[in-house]
């Protein structure tokens, strides 16, 4: 099955969403190299947003 596609919210380039991608995952736009949040995945569409800044309390 063909991978879903969505437009980068920053550079507007089309991004192929890798199989197995989950909602709330951060991926890198291969075109502008910015971090992009996978906000929602439906049967036909994937919605992307600018990824949130890394917070001070994030991490292990």
């Amino acid at each position: 099955m063909e991978n879903k596609k969505a437009n980068c919210p920053i550079c507007d380039s089309e991004i192929e969403i890798p199989a197995g991608t989950e909602e709330s995952e951060i991926i890198n736009c291969p075109h502008c190299n910015n971090r992009v949040l996978v906000a929602k995945i439906t049967e036909n569409e994937v919605f992307l947003q600018e990824a949130p800044e890394i917070e001070e309390d994030w991490g292990e």
Binding site: E22, S24, E25, W58, G59, E60
Partner: protein, 284 residues
């Protein structure tokens, strides 16, 4: 039997956990803390256990307290998480339980820092860490008074209240690596060397990894840490010193993306198995 996996960002680790749960036909639900309303009227009765995988430590603390208030088993519970999230609390627990660890001190100003460095550590260098820091960020190796004064002036003028708490730790020359052991309910399931020529060996900062054999000494120190904290899922960071192994830090929501390929051990499956056993043993 249903497990709720708490998160705010899905990392490689959460994907591995999802994969492990699906592989073992475990009923689970992802709970995005950013999309929840935490109020007692909300129905969370469907969960038998909450596995905390929040990237945000602050959000995790509130969520864990909420689910514990509802009487739902949490992994790791707030009691373990709050200690591991704070390097000073971790040091106190290690000291109290006579577990070999690095010398430490907590101060709130430069003058006391200077005294502590002289009296406790016998001089420079020392390491300054934010007590609740993560991913090796804002760690400073303080080599002399000039450096100390510069750091303190910056923190006192630029930081919030939490940056005016100064956790000092002795500096130890590592043999180009340290050890990260994954410990589940007292058992060390695997360990890696984190290799770096930099004094910060955190893999988030670019440290490389390789498998570390589990020796009796390593197994014992990890077991003692687990016992002191009350079990759970831990990643124990250990430094090899001339006097033997010493615990540096303990993590309650470990990242293990590099550990699985280096050791061949499925940490994600082990975590899911632990949750299942915990439900079977304790119920709620």
């Amino acid at each position: 039997m249903r497990i709720g996996i708490l998160y705010n960002i899905i990392r490689k680790e959460e994907k591995l956990l999802i994969e492990a749960a699906r592989k073992n036909s475990v009923d689970f639900e992802l709970i995005n803390v950013d999309r929840e309303i935490f109020t007692p009227e909300r129905n969370f009765e469907r969960f038998d256990l909450i596995l905390n995988r929040c990237l945000s430590k602050v959000k995790a603390r509130y969520a864990l307290n909420f689910f514990e208030f509802l009487g739902i088993t949490t992994v790791n519970p707030f009691s373990i998480t709050q200690i591991c999230d704070d390097k000073f609390l971790t040091s106190l627990v290690l000291e109290k339980n006579k577990i070999p660890t690095l010398k430490f001190a907590l101060v709130f100003n430069k003058e006391e820092a200077l005294k502590a460095i002289e009296e406790k550590f016998g001089g420079f260098p020392v390491v300054l860490k934010p007590p609740q820091g993560s991913w090796g960020r804002l760690l400073v190796k303080i080599n002399d008074v000039d450096c100390l004064e510069a750091i303190f002036e910056h923190k006192e003028n630029l930081g919030g209240p939490e940056h005016k708490v100064f956790y000092l730790q002795e500096y130890i020359e590592k043999p180009g690596r340290d050890i990260r052991a994954v410990v589940i309910d007292g058992e060390t399931i695997c360990a890696i060397y984190r290799i770096s020529q930099h004094w910060i060996t955190n893999t988030y900062r670019g440290g490389k990894v390789s498998n570390c054999p589990i020796t009796d000494e390593l197994r014992k120190i990890c077991f003692d840490c687990s016992k002191a904290l009350g079990g759970g899922i831990l990643a124990v960071d250990i430094i090899e010193t001339k006097e033997g192994l010493k615990v540096n830090e303990i993590n309650a929501v470990p990242e293990f993306r590099n550990t699985e390929p280096a050791t061949g051990v499925s940490v994600s499956s082990a975590i899911i198995d632990y949750c299942i056993k915990k439900i079977q043993k304790n119920g709620r």
